[in-house]
Amino acid sequence: MATNQHDTKMRSASEERAQANALFNSIGDGIIATDEFGKITRVNPAALHMLGYREKDLLGKWFPSAIVVLGEQGEPIGLIDRPITRAFLLGMPISERNYFLRKDGSKLPVSVTVSPIIHKGRPTGAVEVFRDVSAELEIDRMKSEFISLASHQLRTPLSAVKTYTHMLLDGYMGETTPEQRRTLSTIVSATNRMNELISTLLNITRIESGNIAVTPKLVNIAKLCDEVLREHAHAARDKGIKVAFKSTGATSTRTDALIAKEIISNLISNAIKYTPEEGTIGVRVGKHGKRLIICVEDSGIGIPDEAREKIFTKFFRAANVVKRETTGTGLGLYLVKGLAEQLGGDIWFESEENKGSSFYFALPV
């Protein structure tokens, strides 16, 4: 009787193991398990298939040397920065996207989660689960390409509308009446709004897909600010806003002129938009240590305390802004921050609601 019970228990344990093995071997994501020293103890067929290894190539090997992990730019990720090390050190799961080097030397983009195996309160190993994300990356690439092409195609006729309207406005085709000029100015302003929107979408797509090109050249930032202010002079004048500009010392640095101009233009445009009529705007440029700081301050509506944390996040619009303006996208400051980071710069602000805001854009010198 006792022998029968023992046999049944043995059969049941062995069946459970077989079922667990079948389950492990049938999972479509790659799984690699290690012991507490990082030695590979188990690998499922999906992992072997994705990486091009045989089981005997990996079992018993030290995981960090058996599988090379690469970053976004193809640089090998050092031991201390590998998700498995961090999962061990922090005692918690780590998820990220990177690349595994296959046996044949090709790169496999993966989304990976490493979890420490905790037994009796201490880590006794780790389990790494990964998924091939080649298809997602290809879709991202195609999406970026589509947006880029669509934006370009949209902007070409828009450029023609703007150029010809300006030609009429600037007298290239003869004299115009004040009323005609007002109408033409409205067309220019509408094309500018459309341009800004397309440009914002295009740049956000480029930043998010890591596809933005930075071309550093020697740029005189004070001259750039002056240029942007001249472009926005009309909008400021329309609201009776007084604009002051001050630059101190040498203001040239190596950076991307187009990106820097876009950032400054966004900050100045926001200042005009959110400053009531007859208000004031000040733009200052000067060197502080190893940074060149551009400050755009206004006597505008300011940023409410509860909005401070979210001001640079995507699609965020503060409550006091939504009440006044219905046309914004909530993308401007998100873009500005992303662009500033591309230049190795930084952006921050000081603000008091109903008194005004100062935005600071710092560039390395």
Partner: protein, 132 residues
Amino acid sequence: MAKVLVVEDDKDLNTAYTLILEHDGHQVTPTYNGQEALKAIKTSDPDLILLDLLMPVMGGLEFLQNYELKKKHPNVKVLIFTNMENSPEVNEAYKLGAHRCIIKSWTAPQNLSRVIKDALNESQPEQPEGLA
């Protein structure tokens, strides 16, 4: 004034640039792709080329890579006129010797006149760039 070669496939923009530049007193040769522009530089000696990047038949980058252009006109200034700002193509154009990049959809005629004037007066290949 100066001899300017316009290379732009959009007929409306090409005509607009030609009108503005002629208004400023420049001698303008309008062309509609890189290949037409290469033909044009065989018989003319432009001081400045206003070049679009994305064009049929031959695009701006291919035009810049051309041996004839480099050999016969090593000092000609090339202004890139594009709507593809912050793109790898613009980066490549700079590497191939473009003098400056201007965004079409931001540029009003008076700015265009000033950019052309500045470019013609600038002798150094890399100067502080206040206007993009």
